[in-house]
Symmetry: C2
Subunit: 330 residues, 2 copies
Amino acid sequence: MYTIGIIGATGHTGYVLDGVRGRSDLKIVGVSPGSDGETVETLLQRVREACPEVRQYGEHEDLLDDAEPDIVAVAPYFGDIASIAKEVLSRDIHAFVEKPLATRLDDLETLRSTYEASEGRLAAMLGIRYNPAFRTAATRVHEGAIGEVRLVNARKSYKLGRRGEPYLERETYGGTIPWVGIHAIDWINWVADDPFRAVTAHHTTAANRDHGSLETTAVLQFELGNDVLASASVDYLRPETAPTHGDDFLRVVGTEGVIRADRHGTYLIDDAAGGQRELPLGSSQHPFEDFVDAMDGTSDPLVTADASFEATRAALLARQAADEQRRIEW
Amino acid sequence: MYTIGIIGATGHTGYVLDGVRGRSDLKIVGVSPGSDGETVETLLQRVREACPEVRQYGEHEDLLDDAEPDIVAVAPYFGDIASIAKEVLSRDIHAFVEKPLATRLDDLETLRSTYEASEGRLAAMLGIRYNPAFRTAATRVHEGAIGEVRLVNARKSYKLGRRGEPYLERETYGGTIPWVGIHAIDWINWVADDPFRAVTAHHTTAANRDHGSLETTAVLQFELGNDVLASASVDYLRPETAPTHGDDFLRVVGTEGVIRADRHGTYLIDDAAGGQRELPLGSSQHPFEDFVDAMDGTSDPLVTADASFEATRAALLARQAADEQRRIEW
């Protein structure tokens, strides 16, 4: 039996709710806000359906002190993620953390040090890795289906809708590259064997429909080791009438083939078999369950701590490259 | 009746052959090589099927002096395009020119001056504008179907095959960004209302299967006026077994919708009608016929001289940005 706390109600707490459903060994014992102004009532109502005995705490410190959970999901306003994750890990509690792990590089470094000294495990909520289309693409790339990876193109496109206060200021939001673009960055890091070496990027708040400093569009360009290139496009301009919230896309170009994944499926063209074909997709998995099941250390979760730190670091360097209009090296 | 000369047999001379077919007012009168080492026998054989009286010239100057054509198609090795186009225009002959118009910026400037002083018209062979899927996308964007353009993503992916000598050296080839990427750059310039302001880019020769200095992959990122962003991905790694030579793709994101074009068709999602729908495509047209039919000045061809110069200039600046690893402003 693992006991679970949830701090904050802003991010993907649904991963935790989905993960505990039907698992008698997982129990949410406490919920608290993570940021000033955050309300947890709606979240609490949903948690009670699965865990009627859950307690509400006014301060996250009280949750940690009193409930002493084995695992904490960290999902406050994005600017508060790093400091709360640090508190969690410094108590040797496992941390399932909203992405980005931090909205500032210095906070990320501090969190990394805390993590390395902690017995707690950590994963960021990079949940799209669990989407069967994207996971199948990555698995096939890792199995060598397209030879050596040479080029990666990724796209994130979301509906803007009407976003709440935390999204309107850099201080609380962190920026569109760290919040949305990080998925595309993570896929690049996931499928390429070689590490990030440098980034150039641009972003703009134009046409953001009174969403403060929220950036509506961004383009990113990465150089990786071994002359591998990668690009990502990010926008919040997906029409509200579109059939899905997101329009995710990944294209991996190798020396022996090209693989694409989108919301419809996964497609491979290679020299070996000829022509283009749709690939059968693997089964889906809950991000939180995977994190919990790998927590004993006998296996790696799909989203490792290293990948979580690297995606966050790359996103923050890309944001800086866009802010400062210059190429930034690792 | 217009008489036509063809100088060089390296580029898209097929556009001219397709354009004269069935047109009794267009007659190819002379063919010559444009570069040292170029052979025109195969081309000449095909030209004779349509124009049996065509004459072969050993030097392009002789063709110009002797045949005095009204129009010349310029298609030598890419490093020789600018100087031959300049000779053509300086005689007030209309020039239908392989892209890029030049492989060096100084040659491009010289050609531009010559063009401005000439009575000859000019268009680059940016033939994919005539593909119904891409043309329909651009037309709809220009009609306001997606509101104000905010972001453009473009992709060119080609099979490498086994390329001849002119492709193996920068001197004769010019580079993959000017030769292949220029189409993606041209589409961006075509659909966006705002001019190019700056570019960052990368390219690499990795995995080029003994193709000298030919770059196999490139990524490009443009800032346009009014905070419009654009990106392009270019590669030669399309598997030889793929159903088509190219995998062209264009995505234009506006304030009121998103439009996509690829080899399958054109797709629009907008707020007005809701959902995604495939658009009916306009009819196709021959690039050379359009050039000829607009030559009297009563209408603009789809590929204007301005667009030809701007696409070439942007491609050469992007190549420079990639060579020098720095952001280049207009």
